[in-house]
Symmetry: C2
Subunit: 436 residues, 2 copies
């Protein structure tokens, strides 16, 4: 629902000089969690231009009141979950009050100004305490490219067209953007051999995804109708579901991926609210021709018309050598979320279709965002044809899968005619050598 906070004429009195300030115009106001430079303790904030506003401090100072203050005060344990669990009017009131207080023509409240910190150099933390993480597989291009490796004649299984395929992920290894992690050890079969070894993965990959955070949950045994799905979505975040492809091939039959995914997954710094995304809805991607019609529970007019989201992602690689040389990161691909075959609403409706309880803070990953062309592929498995085709970096290095010291950064931007574009900040991670 569009309202005064989406007005493209709005500007903020907070300066915008940082390289990434364009991600955070006053029309965005995404939530994050960071270590306060004032107290040294974790706190919740909202990004605005070059700064972050400490919401807890602002509420304590009396700058926020009513539903907005109640929303912040609900986050007593330091996580964003408290606000997410409340009726949507609290987050909405907070957005409206912050928008009014941060506008260029607002009378600047000194107490509010005292709660602003420069965003640059802040230590960002995971904003949401995620209890359940499920990861979907909603790109038909990704499904086709992956399926082709195993079934060249029949890459996309019939079930792919019938429902958004997914598996349960591991919540305990969700990590904040910027976390460096060790290359996983695991079992895999070396090329040309038949018996597995237990070694450091030789096929470490990223997966560029969008994460969906659940606000209002659901009860055990309750389904969520597709038309009601949007009211369970609190917001969106970048997500990197790092994958060890060699472990994945060896372990995935018959129960699916397990250790090849659970060593770490990185969530983006910022939660862009569903309300901030209101201007960026687009029609859902068209069904492929010649496939069976959708079952009614996954088919609904509003979802077809505006179930898609216009989010343009970007995957950047910076190797250890590039970091030493001070070289800029290389853009590997620019996937578009509007290419996804299944919508966020369909993911939620499907997840709850068997009565599975959703909890506030649950994270649903979109699966790798991949498009029909090479410059829109969301993982190295696809970009390198399962490691068969290497690529060169500007400094002459060669890559198929990730090497130790590589940093991968995912970024994203949403734009629509007549609106101010908003961004998602960064979802970054660095590969450390395996611990043997």
């Amino acid at each position: 629902m569009l309202n005064e906070t989406h007005d493209p004429a709005l500007r903020s009195w907070v300066p915008s000089t940082a390289a990434d300030a364009a991600d955070f115009p006053i029309q965005n106001l995404p939530f994050g969690r960071f270590v306060s430079p004032a107290t040294g303790r974790p706190t919740l904030g909202v990004a605005i231009a070059d700064a972050v506003l400490d919401l807890v401090a602002a509420t304590a100072a009396g700058v926020l009141g009513g539903d907005a203050a109640e929303g912040v005060n609900a986050c007593r344990d330091g996580w964003l979950n408290g606000l997410m669990a409340l009726p949507a009017r609290h987050a909405s009131a907070l957005r409206r009050d912050l928008s009014r207080a941060l506008r260029a023509d607002a009378c600047i409240d000194k107490r509010l100004r005292a709660c602003l910190f420069l965003r640059r150099g802040l230590r960002m933390l995971r904003p949401v305490d995620v209890r359940n993480f499920s990861d979907f597989y909603t790109s038909i291009h990704h499904a086709r490219n992956c399926g082709r490796l195993r079934r060249p004649d029949n890459p996309v299984l019939p079930s792919f067209h019938a429902h958004p395929v997914a598996y349960h992920g591991r919540a305990s290894t969700l990590s904040a953007s910027g976390t460096a992690f060790h290359r996983p050890m695991g079992q895999f079969v070396r090329p040309g051999e038949s018996m597995p070894v237990f070694e450091a993965s030789q096929a470490l990959d990223f997966e560029c995804e969008l994460g969906v955070y659940v606000g209002q949950g659901s009860a055990l045994g309750e389904r969520i109708a597709l038309q009601d799905a949007p009211r369970h979505v609190f917001g969106f975040s970048l997500l990197n579901d790092w994958s060890a492809r060699d472990l994945q091939v060896w372990e995935s039959s018959p129960l699916g991926p397990f250790l090849s995914k659970s060593f770490v997954s990185t969530v983006g710094e910022w939660v862009v609210t569903a309300e901030a995304m209101a201007p960026f809805h687009v029609p859902a991607a068209p069904r492929e021709e010649g496939v069976a019609p959708l079952l009614p529970c996954l088919d609904e007019a509003a979802d077809r018309l505006q179930g898609g989201l216009s989010i343009d992602l970007e995957i950047r690689l910076r190797t250890a050598a590039m970091q030493r040389a001070g070289s800029a990161a290389m853009v590997l691909a620019r996937p578009r979320f509007s290419d996804q075959y299944w919508t966020v609403g369909q993911m939620l409706a499907h997840q709850a279709s068997n009565g599975c309880r959703l909890e506030t803070g649950d994270l649903l990953g979109s699966g790798t965002v991949s498009g029909p062309t090479d410059d829109r592929l969301g993982c190295l498995l696809e970009l390198t044809r399962a490691g068969q085709r290497s690529f060169m970096l500007p400094d002459g290095e060669e890559r198929t899968y990730l090497e130790d010291g590589d940093e991968v950064v995912i970024a994203a931007r949403s734009a629509a005619p007549g609106f101010v574009p908003i961004g998602f900040g960064a979802c970054a991670g660095t590969v450390l050598p395996a611990r043997r």
Copy 2:
């Protein structure tokens, strides 16, 4: 490690007249969570003979002190997790102090007696706040019986012998013993058809499993050596991983089971501690002949010698008609945990082998416990040959999969020469009609 609490000569002064009192001799002392009849609020307890001792009340009354009281006081939020997270000496001191106070020759503390409630009729709750649930597949008989349905010539994949196969489950739908749940709706393909319908599952099954609760967790990036795995195990519980077989067949390629499992899983009432299980360790089941040797990380002398557990399970079915007629439940099978191909230690070591963080309270399911004979099969998929072979109930009813109103109860007992047998209480659930 055996100690005075395992002495088979010990008897308790608490009366043992209830039908299930033999499950709870003073050598057991399992943990549970229940609604206190005194306060109407959830509290933690230990089962003893016909009774439950309210640990929180006993500590408040000053009956417990030192490490034992510290252990109970760590559970301030009402879950057992606080005690589980502490060094093992706390749970051990609690067990020792309770054993001494409840012995037949003890001077009976009136304050302690006031904290006892008759177990019968108590409302039992989930004892542990589980954040991560992974479900294994550690029975070779189950793997062979299931694999045969898809691959008659090659039922057991080579990876089965190389590592304990597993998938991530859904923590949000773990439910207390006694929970009735609605038959799940979902997509499946009717026999003889090719396109899926969205309907109530026609192939609802149980899976008789053992659950393993993690006490001490591990850090991100840290592996757990097989020889250290036992010190991460707090205790064991019964587990029923209800499964919709028709949903499972349709959805499981390529990412494994999802909605066919996540509608509900039932955990047993009681957590039998690793310390109580000390007398019941047996050698791990032998490797099959002709398969490759284990990789060193999953092979260790102590695990081979005593990695198995002697736990005899029992699966009982009572239909709505049997309940109306007052008939006793029918025993469907008596699986033995000692038949499992992989040990609990191997499950834990494998789960953490990629650096996946374990958290206190994590639940690892053994997967269906099945043996080599028909009377030791742990699910209807196996007992009815995937629904091809029905069975008769004493009152003339016929079954392949579960029908509405069916109650399934799993029970278990551990015994060893020279020791007093202990039991696990019940893990019960009832099927309600689907919500359409």
